[in-house]
């Protein structure tokens, strides 16, 4: 085991600075979009020099990709949140509560539009998005199958199809909320209700 000479590498500091850059990038991408945001703006926003940014992300595209991976992980967390609840109704209610508490969630979601649009052109990003989405759809399907076995979801419904529809509904809703004047909390609840009405069995009399 050779004794390492010189200044020792500090992985924590690196990780922190990396996150700092991604945060700055998120702000700028949100404000200007992937293409219009410049590396100079991003590094200024992150409080870093441009050259330093390039030591963490060898390419602007790499930065975009890192941010996307970071971003898509959050969506998966939402699915898990629903899954951990006792029932679909309860899970959706939690979503409603959570999103009601984050009034600028719609704002953040704008990035997803950008991401999907970008995925349509950049095959590398398309791969990242597809992979993340596949994981999310899979989690959703598992969740729905479980609820179906528990008798909460109608037996004739196809979990694969429903999963896609539910994700589409939320994607579309938050996409629209970014520019329509509709009330975010209200529309989120309405979406939950729509899902219940469309796919759930009527509640047991004992509920």
């Amino acid at each position: 085991m050779p004794i390492p000479l010189g200044r020792p590498a500090n992985p924590e500091a690196r990780a922190q600075r990396r996150a700092q850059i991604i945060k700055g990038a998120r702000t700028c991408f949100l404000r200007k979009g992937f293409h219009a945001a410049t590396t100079a703006e991003i590094s200024a926003e992150a409080g870093v020099s441009v050259a330093n940014l390039y030591q963490y992300f060898p390419t602007k595209d790499d930065l975009v990709q890192a941010l996307i991976e970071d971003d898509l992980a959050e969506d998966l967390a939402l699915v898990r949140l629903v899954d951990e609840a006792g029932s679909l109704r309860e899970g959706l209610a939690r979503i409603d509560t959570l999103l009601a508490a984050e009034p600028d969630y719609a704002e953040q979601t704008r990035l997803k539009l950008e991401i999907i649009a970008e995925a349509a052109r950049n095959s590398q990003i398309a791969a990242v998005v597809s992979a993340a989405d596949a994981r999310m759809v899979a989690a959703m399907i598992t969740l729905l199958e479980r609820r179906q076995q528990a008798g909460e979801v109608r037996p004739e419904a196809d979990p694969v199809v429903i999963a896609e529809l539910i994700l589409a509904l939320y994607d579309g809703l938050y996409g629209r909320l970014a520019f329509s004047g509709a009330n975010q909390a209200r529309m989120t609840r309405a979406a939950s209700q729509m899902i219940i009405d469309a796919f759930a069995n009527p509640p047991h009399p004992s509920d």
Copy 2:
């Protein structure tokens, strides 16, 4: 309104060339996005010189805006299609048929993602998009109210909210179809069914 005198220019030729440029722009924007598509590419695609393009659209942004207006008109046509059908069920079925016949509709939808993302940054475009969307929502609400009065839509449903949800569902669905491998026709039918299940009264036994 008579053709103004003293203008030797040929309005028909102008309109035709304008459309030709917009068509080229659509191709390029679809391929590369608003920012990455260059005026050089667009004019090449349209078979026009760059300088000539600038005689029809004084700015790239103007071209984008013209294309967006052109584009948003199509969506409104879909709402009218539903409205002209005898019932919500029938209208949605027509949508299903129509979209099944255009297998690359999802592809074209990518432009809408770009448009919305752009609207979030460009206030002029935001105005255009909002206005077009407001018209569409209004048409949708009117349609739903009529169906509600006809007893087809559940009386407790709020047409304003439902309209948003339905539009969100389709937006989100076609956004997802642009990169997920799901079957477009099948998912379109499933969306129709979801709408029926969530908002419609059960069909009369006589139906």
Copy 3:
């Protein structure tokens, strides 16, 4: 034959501007070398905007290559000059006279050092240099064979080898003259004499 509309292309003006840019590039490359000379400097020297330069040479490398081709053509002209003279002695004398009249020829030759050094790394440029050099060597060989048949060059000498040596001598001489303080005209004459002494038969008594 379709009638060309719009501003007609002007090939002469283009050729002139192209030459103008190459001239500016030569000045800058001479002053700073291929790598250190910037496109900004070159275009300033040529009295052109940077963007305009890029309409004539899509890449800095392309500009370098064009200049090299331009440059190597001159050397070939020198060989032809010797060939057109009645004898090797007469031809070399003409070279001496010509170079004596251009006191900064050594200065210009510095570019050839740069060119060869660059050829060692850039395969595209290597191809250009090799091709041009092959033409020059071939012309030299032909010349020497003719002089050999005329009895002026020693019969046992191999024109292929001599050609290389003569070119090497001049290359090396002008390379050295670029930094040594030696007298250009004198050294040029000495080189001619060396060639005569090494390869020529003694002059006929009738000469």
Copy 4:
């Protein structure tokens, strides 16, 4: 000169590391040229950190200069080799033998092209090159004068001029060999022969 006290640093280790860096630099400069080779590449090649390189050479230019001094010393050794031989013919024969044994000598010569080109722009380097060259020319002149007194070199020849020509011939030859396909050993012998034919008296019948 006693080793200065109060300097705990290990001079041997320093010298070794210095040589290690110069070696890495030579490799990189040969591969890419002075300007295109980066300090990062050089230190990687030398197995050293960039910051460490800067503790040995405060500037990239200083590194270049050190390497050049290192390099020019070798040429002088060749002149001495000839001088130590009994005759010019014998000395040139030894050169032929030596260079025949180093088939990639031409490759290394590429650095000299780079050096001369650089000298044309960097006055500091020009001084180094001029000084080294002056030493070499002086050694060459001394050598030739001795051979002239020994009756081997023609009496009417000017050693100052011949020295320049001989150096020019070798410089040019190895410059050309770097990219022409000619055979190095054969051309080296031919150059020796050319020198003999041009400047030497015919051998004594007793030789």
